[in-house]
């Protein structure tokens, strides 16, 4: 390619190649596909990105991503059922929403406590969570944090700071469709520790 138009396309390819899951070759293929489907994909995509770029922001209440100061979930009165589900990241919130089983509100921490990366409680939205629990009518805080050393350290830290509130956490153990033979011994240990009466 050569000329100014080619430079623009190269710049687009470079930007696309920075997206997760894409490298230079796959970005080049994606851009070529977009250009071929200009009316069907490229222009609507550019328009949608322009719109999201100007309106997307973090919810001031929970940290979810929405298009206003308060996200749709926080603005929905039907979801004020007294339960707050605490997640590490917006991606986890979206995963919970995909399952369509939780009907309460969320709180996105924005990470977990990490000695390695020097992430402390002040770097996360833990003070805001404690503030929400004291000001909103909350009867249960559900900790849906990763089953990792850092995730569970964060869970214990939060639970300690909410002594007056019922704090629960997601179960850990055998995943749906999982066979014991293929599980690591850490998961089997956690599952055995969390066994329940059948």
């Amino acid at each position: 390619m050569s000329g100014k138009g080619a430079k623009d396309i190269e710049a687009l390819i470079e930007l696309m190649a920075r997206l997760p899951g894409l490298g230079p070759r796959s970005a080049r293929r994606a851009v070529l596909h977009l250009i071929k489907k200009r009316g069907l994909l490229l222009l609507p995509l550019a328009e949608a990105m322009q719109k999201v770029g100007t309106t997307a922001r973090e919810c001031l209440n929970c940290g979810n991503i929405g298009t206003g100061d308060v996200c749709d979930i926080c603005a929905d009165d039907a979801r004020a059922n007294g339960q707050i589900c605490v997640v590490e990241d917006v991606a986890d919130l979206w995963a919970m929403e995909r399952a369509r089983v939780f009907k309460g509100r969320y709180h996105v921490l924005g990470g977990v406590l990490s000695a390695l990366d020097a992430v402390g409680p002040e770097e996360l939205r833990i003070p805001r969570l404690i503030d929400r629990v004291s000001t909103e009518t909350v009867n249960e805080v559900i900790l849906a944090l990763p089953a990792t050393i850092e995730g569970q350290t964060t869970a214990h830290y939060i639970a300690e700071r909410l002594p007056q509130t019922r704090v629960t956490s997601l179960a850990q153990g055998v995943p749906v469709g999982g066979e014991l033979d293929y599980l690591d011994d850490g998961t089997i240990t956690a599952a055995l520790n969390a066994r329940k009466t059948f």
Binding site: L113, I149, T153, H156, Y157, D185, G186, T187, A190, N193
Partner: protein, 242 residues
Amino acid sequence: MIEWRDHGALLSARPHGETSVIAEVFCAAHGRCAGVIRGGISRKLAPVLQPGNVVAVAWAARLEEHLGHFTVEPVRSRAGMVLGNRLALEALQAVTGLLGLVLPEREPHPALYDATQGVLDLLTDADLLPLAYLRWEQKLLEDLGYGLELGTCTVTGVNDDLAFVSPKTGRAVSRSAAGPWEGRLLPLPPVLVGQGDAAGPDIAAALAVTGYFIEHRLMRAQSERPMPAARARFIALLARQS
């Protein structure tokens, strides 16, 4: 191609690119070593790559000074046992965090390795863990050349009425020899020399002394990063124990 095999305790695994991690492993014969693990964030490998887990590793690189690649096999998982135990979680992160900060790379420390496996094996024993952790920190200081000498008074040579530790030398000072320098010396909790109670607050006081030397000697020598916050939280939990 340079290759070796060993086993060790996983200290950390940081994301590297989209699918790999850079892992640090405290190996029995090779000390603290780092390497890339391809596919380290996969569902299969992520549970294996939790701090404290024992893994068998094969390290390979074209040149000795390269970062190199690890292939890992799980040997023993500790993560599953400690996830519900706050004291154990903080102790585990304090141990792995400190080793990641102060242990020189690729320098074997077999005695410290054994001591580390010993304290990690006691993570779920709430009665033994606090004292085992204190002894491990003393061993860490000793193995890296900053061992505390608490048997006799550095001024008079007597071995009774030892009440202080010199922050400069790490040696004990008796109450009578302390004199006007008492305010500048660190208190010597009896548990540090194997005497008195080993209750949570006593051990927390002793950890303040070992912490001083870790921070002012080891950390200044090896790292610009701060002490792992998990250590402070572990000590706070101990101080609250009756």
